[in-house]
Amino acid sequence: MSYVIEGRTGPWELVVGLEVHAQVISQSKLFSGASASYGGEPNTHVSLVDAGFPGMLPVINRECVAQAIRTGLGLEARINLESRFDRKNYFYADLPTGYQISQFTHPIVGEGAVEIELADGSIRTIGITRLHLEQDAGKSMHDQDPTRSFIDLNRAGVALMEIVSEPDIRTPEEAGAYLRKLRMILRYLGTCDGNMEEGSMRADVNVSVRKAGEPFRTRCEIKNVNSIRYVMQAIEIEAARQVEIWESGGSVDQETRLFDPARGETRSLRSKEDAHDYRYFPDPDLLPLVVEEAWVESLASFLPELPDAKRQRFQTEYGIPRYDAGVLVAEQATADFYETVARGRDPRLAANWVIGDFFAALNRTGRTIQDSPITADGLGGMLDLITDGTINGKIAKEVFEDMLETGESAAAVVERRGLRQVTDTGAIDAAVQSVLAANQDKLAEYRAGKDKLFGFFVGQVMKAMAGKGNPALVNEALKKVL
């Protein structure tokens, strides 16, 4: 778990904090009635409020507030019953009003915590400093025309949650685990879809390095990193850059940087002279945001079961190992799928099939749980056929592949292909007799003490029965004769 950057002057420790911008799932924008949906022709989801027309006023969207509260509850954080919106002033072509409405001094959510699990099985808690609501800006498009830039305001005014972590992260792996965990929680809550490629979740990464036991040194902020892999790479590269600066007698400037994955470097985004003075002040168009305790409680009571609790329950309720439980709860849909399969069946058998053959099949065919030809009930039906002895485990794999291809039920496949397991002892005895008759030499060797040949006879009998023999009965019949 310890991550050390070996410099010329000795080991350096890494200090990282993350600011995650998560786009809130909501019908309409944070302060206007325009649609917040992704995509759409440019400038088709824009109200007069979003475009900053004279005299237009923001009105808070209560659903966005509910989403922020749900997220805060999911992060085990303090919900601030009174918060406030401030204006962050700066000029840019895709910022229609010339200010972003955000929560600077009084965020809606205070301190919380996220538990992460690392590859070596160790567990760490990363502190959450705050979560606040703010508006997204529009999009500037500089590549549409040689001389002009175009502006798409569809995103302008969409609600974002900025989730700020404490500088508790000490390795790139922890940063990755934190982001994955955060994304998992957001998806469970249904408050953000977590799609980093579409930009609905983006991270600003604060990186500094220090010698063990030192206070924090100057940090740099790497803006708008849009994949977990890039976040981990950017941290590594930026930390190395800072170590190099400190060790060659320089000092790191506090600045905003960009990560360029193609060149594998971070570079300065703006110099100190261009540093913005955002002139934050309380937005006089909005009253303080006051939420009632009872509303928070009601939101809490409708909160879905979150990944940690669900994993715990899977372990105790289904008796499956922690690792398996962890894999199954990684996504809500997987967990739901598993629970449908496991209901009223052998939960371990269910876990093995879901994690094993089912996941492998999805991977192989490039499908997701949502568009899988085998439904949870379908897989469950197949497990029922194993349990009641209709098919054995080996035939089951054949049935599964067939179901994957045809989308038929296990029973239908078994019926169509005549894969029903043979439990008729007469038929088994007949097969045993014919195998022994055809292998007199092997029989003699066995009788002479070569016990290992028992397996050979089992295999031959199963083969003679096209795999459909009940393995237990075949064993029993052979033992009797031999």
Partner: protein, 494 residues
């Protein structure tokens, strides 16, 4: 009596009785505008044809006996209220050709009640000014003249100077104004009419171009207190589109005008007796005190100790908000654009060409007081003082029902006076700013003439959402003063 001399209350009755038609009533005013607006410059945009069409529709409604409260009443609309399909400029080059596709809540309320809009009235650019000399469309002339001096052009006050001049000269029967630090009350005082700034939150700000959001409040201007009450009745009301609008029932304002004042406690704030106050203003104030005492009020000396910081605080808070509110005028989506090779240069060129000197000055001041390193010393401290001013009023209103003060420290001054020093100009608002800072309702009512024959107003300040007491006290002063003086330039004088 000419139709342009009528009060709104009298015109309502006349229309209902069909003594005259809405076409006649509106036509008389449109004619007056056509005759006098070239001189007074009270309107930036005159919508004569639309007004006459509306008048014809009003007559049809009246014929069916279905008149709404303001059916057929011609009004002027301060060109800060967005009007659907009618150019709305804020008296700025920036919005010279801006035609909003939406109607402000306040004007929509007036239209709902049948009002006829004769045009958009002139103002100081983005409502920043106290003399209506900061308009990109030229200064407004006050229709009043000093005794024996027909030549000197006086200012109408500001920022709602066009509305005040239009109402005083009988170009319209009433008008909308907006008041951020005195922009309804001070021009009302300078032009000898009545005007009320209601409680902050009483009228929706939706669709009204913002100057300083925490202070801006729409209100009516008219020749009588009762007419103001009639207009406010229509303008006021909760609007879910404005988060600062207050969901509080709107009482019968017209009824309040006739209310008996017996037992009402009237506070006289000691701090408003500023050094160097002209004797005629002092005398008018004393007369007002006497009239209210005669009407049965109890006069109480009160103290508003933080009043002296009102103006300084205002000139931090209002510019701070304006610097942010006016950032949207960037040449990107609407309004004036001066193209330039880069975005930053386009901002600079557009805003340099679009904003006048006073607007630029306030944006600079506001940007400064919000900047890192100055925020605590200016903006934050101003907010704290603002709270103290608010508390001043709360404390005073534990003792009294309304406060009585002069509206402005002088009568209308001449164009060209007080123009070299912006601070001198800012001092015009010294009596009106504190009520704005506290958000409480305040009204100016004509009470007398200055030594040189110009109107002087008295200000009545009330408790939050108690416009009724304000209107009642103002009506009493109006009755006692029997202010029948009329300006030299007016519709009736041909």
């Amino acid at each position: 009596m000419m139709l342009t001399e009528l009060t709104i209350a009298a015109a309502q009755a006349g229309l209902k009785r069909r003594d005259f038609s809405a076409v006649e009533l509106v036509g008389a005013h449109v004619a007056a505008i056509e005759r006098l607006n070239g001189r007074l410059n009270a309107f930036i945009t005159v919508t004569a044809d639309e007004a006459m069409d509306a008048a014809r529709r009003a007559d049809a409604v009246l014929a069916k006996g279905e008149a709404a409260p303001l059916t057929g009443i011609p009004l002027g609309i301060k060109d800060l209220f967005c009007t659907d399909g009618v150019r709305t400029t804020a008296a700025s080059r920036m919005l010279e050709d801006f035609v909003p596709p939406y109607e402000s809540t306040v004007t929509a309320n007036l239209l709902r009640d049948g009002a006829v809009f004769a045009g958009k009235t002139n103002l100081d650019e983005f409502a920043m000014g106290s003399a209506n000399i900061n308009s990109a469309f030229g200064a407004v002339e006050n229709p009043w003249k000093r005794d024996g001096d027909a030549d000197t052009v006086l200012v109408p006050g500001g920022s709602s100077g066009g509305s005040a001049a239009a109402v005083a000269a009988s170009l319209v029967m009433g008008a909308t104004g907006t008041d951020t630090g005195g922009s309804i009350r001070q021009p009302a005082s300078y032009c000898g009419i009545a005007g009320i700034k209601p409680t902050y939150g009483r009228c929706s700000r939706w669709g009204t171009i913002a100057f300083a959001s925490s202070l801006d409040q729409a209100g009516p201007m008219a020749r009588t207190v009762e007419d103001c009450a009639i207009l406010l009745q229509s303008m006021a009301g909760f609007d879910p589109r404005d988060s600062t609008s207050v969901d509080c029932p709107v009482p019968d304002y017209r009824a309040a005008c006739g209310r008996d004042l017996k037992g009402m406690k009237v506070g006289i704030p000691a701090e408003y007796r500023v050094a160097g106050m002209p004797a005629d203003i002092e005398a008018t104030w004393d007369k007002g005190i006497a009239w209210l005492r005669d009407a049965g009020c109890e006069i109480v000396e009160v103290s508003l100790p933080y009043t002296k910081y009102g103006l300084a605080t205002y000139y931090i808070v209002a510019p701070a908000e304006c610097s942010s509110n006016l950032a949207r005028y960037d040449g990107v989506r609407f309004g004036r654009r001066v193209p330039a090779p880069s975005l930053d240069e386009q901002y600079e060129a557009t805003r340099r060409a679009g904003f006048g000197a006073e607007v630029r000055r306030r944006i600079l001041m506001g940007t400064y007081v919000l900047s890192a390193g100055y925020y605590d010393a200016y903006y934050l401290r101003a907010q704290k003082v603002r709270n103290l001013i608010r508390r001043d009023f709360e404390r005073a209103f534990q003792q009294v029902d309304v406060l009585l003060t002069p509206t402005a420290p002088s009568p209308a001054f001449a164009q060209g006076e007080k123009m070299d020093d912006p601070v001198q100009m800012y001092l015009n608002d010294v009596f009106t700013v504190p009520a704005s800072m506290a958000g409480v309702p305040a009204m100016s009512v004509p009470a007398g003439l200055s030594a040189n024959g110009l109107p002087l107003g008295l200000q009545i300040i009330g408790r939050s959402f108690d416009e009724e007491s304000v209107l009642a006290a103002a009506s009493a002063i109006e009755r006692a003063a029997s202010f029948t003086h009329r300006p030299a330039i007016r519709a009736e004088v041909v």
